[in-house]
Subunit: 302 residues, 2 copies
Amino acid sequence: MKLTILGCYSATPRDNAHPTSQFLEVKGRHFLIDCGEGTQMQLRKYKLKFTKINHVFISHLHGDHFYGLIGFLSTLGILGRQKDLHVYGPKGLKEIITLQLRLTKSYNEYDIVFHELTSKKSELIFEDNKVAVYTIPLKHRVYTNGYLFKEKIGERKLEISKTAAYKEIEVCDYQNLKNGKDFILEDGTVIANELLTSDPSKPKSYAFCSDTKYKEDITEIIKNVDMLYHESTFLEDNADLAKKTMHSTALEAAKIAKMAEVKMLILGHYSSRYKNLKLFKQEAETVFENSVLGEEGVCYEI
Amino acid sequence: MKLTILGCYSATPRDNAHPTSQFLEVKGRHFLIDCGEGTQMQLRKYKLKFTKINHVFISHLHGDHFYGLIGFLSTLGILGRQKDLHVYGPKGLKEIITLQLRLTKSYNEYDIVFHELTSKKSELIFEDNKVAVYTIPLKHRVYTNGYLFKEKIGERKLEISKTAAYKEIEVCDYQNLKNGKDFILEDGTVIANELLTSDPSKPKSYAFCSDTKYKEDITEIIKNVDMLYHESTFLEDNADLAKKTMHSTALEAAKIAKMAEVKMLILGHYSSRYKNLKLFKQEAETVFENSVLGEEGVCYEI
């Protein structure tokens, strides 16, 4: 799992402070999470293959999270995309995008499949044989979801040194072994799968939570994730403002991380009023040690 | 008159190739012309006081000319703007912007006054005591206008060395002299205005033409302008493509400049297929000598 931050500032974008967008690679799938203005330029800047993206997840309809979507979709059309693109986000997104495509007389050869979300409960919204994606209902000034990306348990790992001991096991048997089947020798002896394979890698998980007020009940959904991005628009010095605008402080993000027992916390969605971002990390570390600053262009690997 | 180019590339934006947008200062008025994605970041990057902008002119509803408008308008709201902002552009623009403001639950303290254009003839769309703005009907794949910005003739210039010769002329008489009135001495002698003042500076003019196929009849509207920006998406090596997509080549832009007897031609809206922009200048110069390359961040003064 590889996460590249394309932008991690709140509200008004600047040349060196891009609004929210993230590019997530999970077992060969490429996901775009939020798409603030300028996201397509950021994807190019960091040389991310954005034609590989098949699924876009928009958290909520505030401009700093989706104003770059129409440009991204148009560029895919200009580049001649033919594959369907799936867009998940709040109700209203489809109307905004389709109106603009219609009035700009855009002709795209590919279909945009909208999945408009309205539920206030966590739900499975995408699944294939490698990954499942769930919503994380958040609490903000407008209807908002975070997203939880969970790898599925992979195949068992073949232990070649062990299979080699049995001449009867051939290459064509490998897939059955990876799938967990025992091997039966010609004389009827059963070789237990565990003797020939080892456990698959532990599936990884990533939770994206932006924007939200402090909301403890999300910890049930994001319990034990390997990596949590949780917005921290403010420091505790502006706790009142955080409450008023339904955002979180770095301390609150860290409390969520601790309570959910996640392995690592990435902070972001910084208010432009703060010049020294180290203070966010310092504040979070008082509660949760493995806190890092989200930084544009940085790739976080699990 | 000062023109700053914020972006001068066509179609798909890149980090170093921003879509069309220009910031024009005319006698203390600040105009934004087109507003491709990322325009607000470019305004900040080049330290242009974008809160001073009261009028935005959008040429046509292709994304590379207006996808940055909603972000720009939202940022003005966040910054607490109270003054009206006037937006000129094709019919449909109002629907696109208001839908997004409604669905994002944006509350702006300022009013956006939309002036939707539908005429196919040149018309005066804005005028005050210093500047007049006219449309330049262009021919593109969608309804498109260029814009002509004309300074009005200013006040006559007071020649202090000459007025000093008459003790009866006091400071309170200056404005009448600047307005062109003769001065009458107590004995009834008329001092002709031309003896006390000189002609005002010649009013400057700027014409913005993007996007359009080669269209000779615009030369009547832009005749003798001091500065012409004319799109040159292609070179003559792609003249067929220019025709098909209703764009112009650098040579065609230069022909228009020559025919309209303008003083200076700025090229732009380059297709990203060209790596060597000098070729645009070279091609234009074969027809019109004072051709320059539009470059991001460069300020052109008249």
